[in-house]
């Protein structure tokens, strides 16, 4: 099975880069895996995932009253509410996925999303804020344990 780890975000905008930081840590520990990092959104990301069976997407998230550093493991179905075709925002990744599916693109059959609650995504910095930075090693280990159980780490 061809698996892709996709770190999304922007590594020069503080916590926005957390998904990429974790993806890089995973790649460091498991050099044999395919990993892509992308500072892009919507359609431009979907272009990158064609041809894989399984996608592990790691990104930042901001929820109402969310605590920075918390992480959520989500399936694509959890995003059904944003998949509405009635959503006037047509460029989110999930709408783009729907569109590509309609065109029989060879998309991953399994998509797992790890979303890390963030604090600051508007200040140019290569460092995450403290609460987010300190959970990176732990979330890296959890993803490796859950998604790559046969690895020896």
């Amino acid at each position: 099975m061809k698996t892709l780890v996709l770190g999304l975000g922007n590594t020069i905008l503080s916590d926005d880069g957390v998904g990429i930081h974790i993806a890089r840590h995973i790649k460091e520990k498991l050099p044999e895996i395919d990993m892509i990092e992308a500072s892009a959104a919507g359609f431009r990301v979907v272009d990158e995932i064609i041809g894989y069976d399984k996608l592990i997407l790691i990104d930042s998230i901001k929820t109402k009253n969310g605590q920075p550093g918390t992480y959520y493991k989500l399936g694509i179905e959890e995003f059904k509410s944003t998949l509405h075709h009635s959503s006037p925002h047509d460029m989110n990744m999930f709408d783009a996925l729907q569109l590509m599916k309609k065109h029989n693109a060879d998309l991953p059959k399994e998509i797992i999303i790890y979303a890390i609650e963030v604090e600051d995504t508007f200040t140019f910095s290569e460092q995450c804020t403290e609460k987010v930075a300190e959970v990176i090693p732990e979330i890296t280990s959890i993803i490796i344990r859950d998604q790559f159980p046969s690895s020896k780490i």
Binding site: L8, G9, N10, T11, I12, L13, D16, E37, A38, S39, A40, A41, G42, F43, R44, D47, E48, D59, S60, I61, K62, F79, S81, T82, H84, H85, S86, S87, P88, H89, D90, M91, N92, M93, F94, D95, A96, Q98, L99, M100, K102, H103, A105, I113, A115, V118, T121, F122, T123, F124, S125
Partner: protein, 487 residues
């Protein structure tokens, strides 16, 4: 002051923004503004880094147009080192850059702007999206958009290393050349892209121009402003995305100024408003006279229609034909119709595809002479390109070791910031009367700025990837009386 209507965030755009519409006591629009969140500390982030890193850092400002920043930055570093790229490198840079313009414009026309035009502005909101566009143009066209974009992106990936974080540009040239085998392969792709660009214009003709209601909207007063225009032109005053001089024309289409990159500070100044983090560039020689259109106002516009307005034509034959047809239909040059940005965008996509074909038909593009090694002490430089969304200016100063000491950027969307606020206010005033605000009307207000294809807070992608649309209705005392949420 009466009711305040807030639309937050701006829909169908990457990045978040907000339109504030203020109603008076009788429910008519007093004023409307566009706001975007601030990204903090970019200059500070760049200071004391080696200048040659900036072509790799600046693309990360924005996940939408990384190539535009990469190219502007590469040209700025050329200027800092006072080195010119070789002829072959220049061709290869243009090949990559035209490929980016083509795929970006096609994406906007079909998937971002398309819902307004191809579907219809007043269609039920569940149809005003990509799938609605596909339903209208047919699945086969949708498949071709996806396929053509992917193939053109392969050219960018090959020459730039990565499409999202390009690394192809180096001071004095590029990092990778083109083999004869690849030239032939890419030429086939380019010929198909050119055909598809022509067909896309046909689609626009049939669906948009063939519908009187659309034509009325395009030529009507709601979406019209008489402003100055700005864009790069080549030595024959033809549209050029990669290089040339910046030409400005006045609202009558007369040349107002023409200047090289190093003169931009004498030509452009930026106005600041207390209610927005976004700056509002204006023509220094005219001055800032408020959010007004006309010859006395220094507000100018950039991006596709502006580029066509400042030029004497397109440098390729098919695009030139379409250029002439557009101005004939719109009643001459310059065209002040904001919604014609969509039309101009397609003409530019056709030009980009034709130019890619021309570059690839030229066998000398495979020459290995792809870089002039810089030998001079770095100092200061300005680089200008036309991003898909308008004129993009980078300006760096370094010490003699090449370490960055100052950075100034005027990004494309900001070039249109004052005009976008003007456009939103005009549309809102014309459409919202006596407190009657509904989804269709709000969408038509949004169309006024969506035509510019603005890119707001660049490159923040926190999940879920789209935020719901929230409209808060405030009473006279500014308390929220009702919140409408559209998820």
């Amino acid at each position: 002051m009466g009711t305040k209507v807030t639309i937050d965030p701006i829909t169908r755009l990457e990045g978040h923004g907000k339109i504030e519409i203020f109603l008076d006591d009788s429910g008519n629009v007093e004023n409307a503004y566009l706001q975007i969140p601030e990204l903090r500390g970019f200059e500070q982030f760049c200071v004391d880094r080696p200048v040659e890193e900036l072509p790799r850092i600046t693309p990360r400002i924005c996940g939408v147009c990384p190539m535009a920043h990469h190219m502007a930055s590469t040209k700025t570093v050329d200027a800092v080192y006072n080195v010119q790229p070789t002829e072959t490198a220049k061709k290869l840079r243009q090949l990559v850059y035209d490929s980016y313009i083509f795929e970006d414009h096609m994406l906007h026309f079909f998937f971002l702007g398309g819902p307004d035009f191809v579907v219809t502005p007043s269609a039920p909101k569940k149809e005003r999206n990509i799938l609605g566009v596909i339903a209208k143009v047919g699945l086969e066209i949708g498949t071709r958009v996806i396929k053509t974009r992917r193939e053109i992106r392969n050219i960018v990936t090959y020459l730039s290393g990565r499409i999202i974080h390009p690394v192809g540009g180096l001071p004095g040239g590029v990092s990778k050349g083109l083999t004869e085998e690849k030239r032939q392969e890419f030429l086939k792709i380019a010929l198909e892209a050119r055909d598809f660009a022509k067909e896309s214009i046909e689609i626009f003709n049939n669906i948009v121009l063939g519908n009187n209601a659309y034509v009325d909207l395009i030529v009507g007063d709601i979406y019209k402003h008489k402003t100055y225009y700005m864009g790069l032109v080549d030595e024959n005053n033809k549209v050029n995305f990669y290089d040339g001089k910046v030409r400005v024309v006045d609202p009558d289409g007369k040349e107002f100024s023409k200047f090289g990159p190093e003169e931009y500070l004498q030509q452009i100044a930026e106005h600041v408003e207390p209610w927005s983090y976004m700056k509002f560039p204006f023509l220094k020689k005219i001055g800032w006279n408020g959010f007004k259109e006309g010859k006395e106002s220094g507000i100018f516009r950039v991006a596709p229609l502006a580029r066509l307005n400042v030029s004497d034509g397109m440098a390729t034959p098919f695009a030139q034909e379409e250029y002439e047809r557009m101005y004939e239909t719109l009643g001459g040059k310059p065209a002040h119709n904001t919604l014609a940005f969509h039309w101009a965008r397609l003409i530019e996509a056709l030009y980009a595809a034709e130019h890619i074909v021309e570059l690839l038909e030229d066998k000398t593009i495979t020459s290995p002479d792809i870089r002039n090694i810089p030998t001079e002490t770095p100092t200061e430089g300005v680089g200008i390109v036309e991003a898909a969304r308008g004129t993009l200016i980078h300006h760096y100063k370094t010490d003699e070791q090449g370490m960055v000491k100052a950075v100034n950027l005027i990004v494309a969307t900001v070039g249109n910031s004052a005009a976008m606020s003007l456009s939103i206010a005009k549309a809102a005033k014309a459409l919202i009367k006596n407190g009657k605000v509904d989804d269709g009307l709000l969408n038509m207000v949004e169309m006024a700025f969506r035509a510019y294809d603005p890119c707001m807070a660049c490159a923040t992608h926190s999940l879920p990837g789209s935020t719901p649309l929230i409209i808060n209705l405030h009473d006279k005392d500014n308390s929220i009386v009702e919140t409408i949420r559209r998820d």
